[in-house]
Symmetry: C2
């Protein structure tokens, strides 16, 4: 099945204890698209870039089966730019620069064949833009998922809640789940968030894994312990890309399938952080992904007596 993804395509400048990547390719949409491309090749991308965005990056995504006719290229504008520096423990980071550039004018008009995509992943963006995309869909979708962040909860909670009301799956981190729900217990937070609309909730906990909630059912996928995390940038988007790519490929939104999708998403995220930017994500093989997914099975499997 087809997957529509909307979000940023960006230049990133990333400093971690393991190095400094200057002006590398980033953006939620880019990570989501690369990750999902290992599962489904029917990816429809809606984004905006400046004239400075490398043509070969567009072509590389097209070679993975992505349709980029919905990516606006503002030839006289500059691509969205983000610079950040991670702390020693990699769990926190400081944003050094955010230059919206062309993103400030992002006004996504979906091409006609985008509107009937059965799976939709709304990357983290202004809630108003996420809503604008939802309003253009033809209503035939099987699963609409969204990501967001605390920033929008701080400045646009009401608009954000309107978007949340309309999606099937919300993917946020633990602190965001607590802020959105006003509950500290993630179990209680999930109840509150379900009542806001989404049937499914995924709470991402970074190095501690991810939890999937659905009406009383819970699945907890730990993160794979890694010897080296070089760059956590894009891990959450890569997770979403693996998850949605897997669902679009199987066209199965049962809870059992969603659990597997969380594992595939976690596996893709575990690759993402092993190198800077998209370096690892661009060079994966299917056997590598399969082996990684089996590592998750070995990691958590136990038999009761």
């Amino acid at each position: 099945m087809s997957l529509l993804t909307i979000g940023t395509m960006a230049f990133d400048d990333i400093q971690t204890p393991f190095g400094h990547a200057e002006k590398v390719i980033g953006g939620a949409c880019t990570y989501i698209s690369w990750a999902s491309s290992y599962f489904t090749d029917k990816i429809y991308i809606s984004s905006i870039v400046g004239g400075d965005f490398p043509v070969e990056e567009i072509e590389a995504l097209e070679k993975r089966g992505a349709d980029l006719s919905g990516v606006e290229v503002k030839s006289n504008g500059k691509t969205f730019f983000w610079a950040g520096k991670y702390h020693e423990n990699m769990n926190q980071r400081d944003t050094l620069v955010t230059d919206l550039n062309v993103l400030d004018d992002f006004n996504p008009i979906l091409p006609e064949d985008y509107k009937s995509c059965k799976y939709v992943m709304l990357g983290n963006l202004t809630p108003a833009i996420q809503m604008q995309v939802l309003n253009q869909l033809d209503g035939s979708q099987k699963l609409i998922a969204m990501d967001t962040m605390n920033f929008w909860m701080d400045i646009a909670m009401d608009e954000l809640k309107e978007v949340i009301k309309k999606v099937d799956l919300l993917s946020i981190n633990d602190e965001e789940a607590r802020q959105l729900s006003g509950e500290y217990s993630l179990l209680k937070a999930a109840e509150v968030i379900h009542s806001m609309g989404p049937k499914y909730l995924i709470i991402k906990k970074g190095e501690h894994g991810a939890m999937l909630f659905n009406d009383g059912e819970i699945f907890y996928a730990p993160a794979l312990p890694l010897a080296l995390v070089k760059d956590p940038t894009g891990a959450g988007d890569t997770f979403a890309g693996g998850l949605m790519g897997y669902l679009a490929m199987t066209n199965d939104v049962s809870f059992d399938s969603l659990k597997r999708a969380v594992i595939y998403g976690s596996a893709m995220a575990s690759f993402c952080v092993e190198e800077f930017s998209l370096l690892r994500l661009k060079n994966l093989t299917k056997p590598e992904i399969k082996e990684r997914v089996h590592s998750f099975k070995r990691l958590t499997n136990f038999e009761l007596d």
Copy 2:
């Protein structure tokens, strides 16, 4: 098989956002013993209390099958006292009072039949006292486990490493594993700690679960998401008690059995935190424990396609 446990028996004063428990029963040894008593009734306790420690608490443990002949009662002394206050999020706490009292004179002399216990759990104590106990064992042990804390790493690292060298299983939290090993990655930390002696390492991550390491093999047991955590005091000791009680009961130290033991320990800890002090731990039934353990299975189980 028999389980020897050594550690504190205490009075606690605990403040959490859910209430204030004044002068309730606490101590590592108490939590370990109560938790393990649901699995094995051959528990040998080595500890020290003052004349103020309630006789009915001693008798209650005896009714659970524990031998307390190795518990010294200093009738003219006062029992170890700890007071602490948890922060709003329950993940951090401030120690308000630590009165060592009789613990200052703790000089454990093991009764003869304690020395051949096949399973040994050294609760968190001065490394010198842990070593004193090790030196009295007859060498027939099947598994010796220990708990410790950052405090001893700060002030007695050399003595601590001597004890660690002699145990089969070390159980510490993630920050302690990082401090002990000097490695941030828990995977690398485990390698370093294995090289210090222990064949098995358990890294406790509180609400994020626990990891078991053994020579390249890893098992990750998530914590059960709970609607309400009233009092985290003793959760780590309860985990150790469930773990060691299960191993002593089954007398099976294979990796598969250790994985199950981690789940049983996690299940017991999940009960512990639901109420203040020992309230929940004293009133469990075997069916409740079985049901809780199956919750862990449901929580993590997935099938690959």
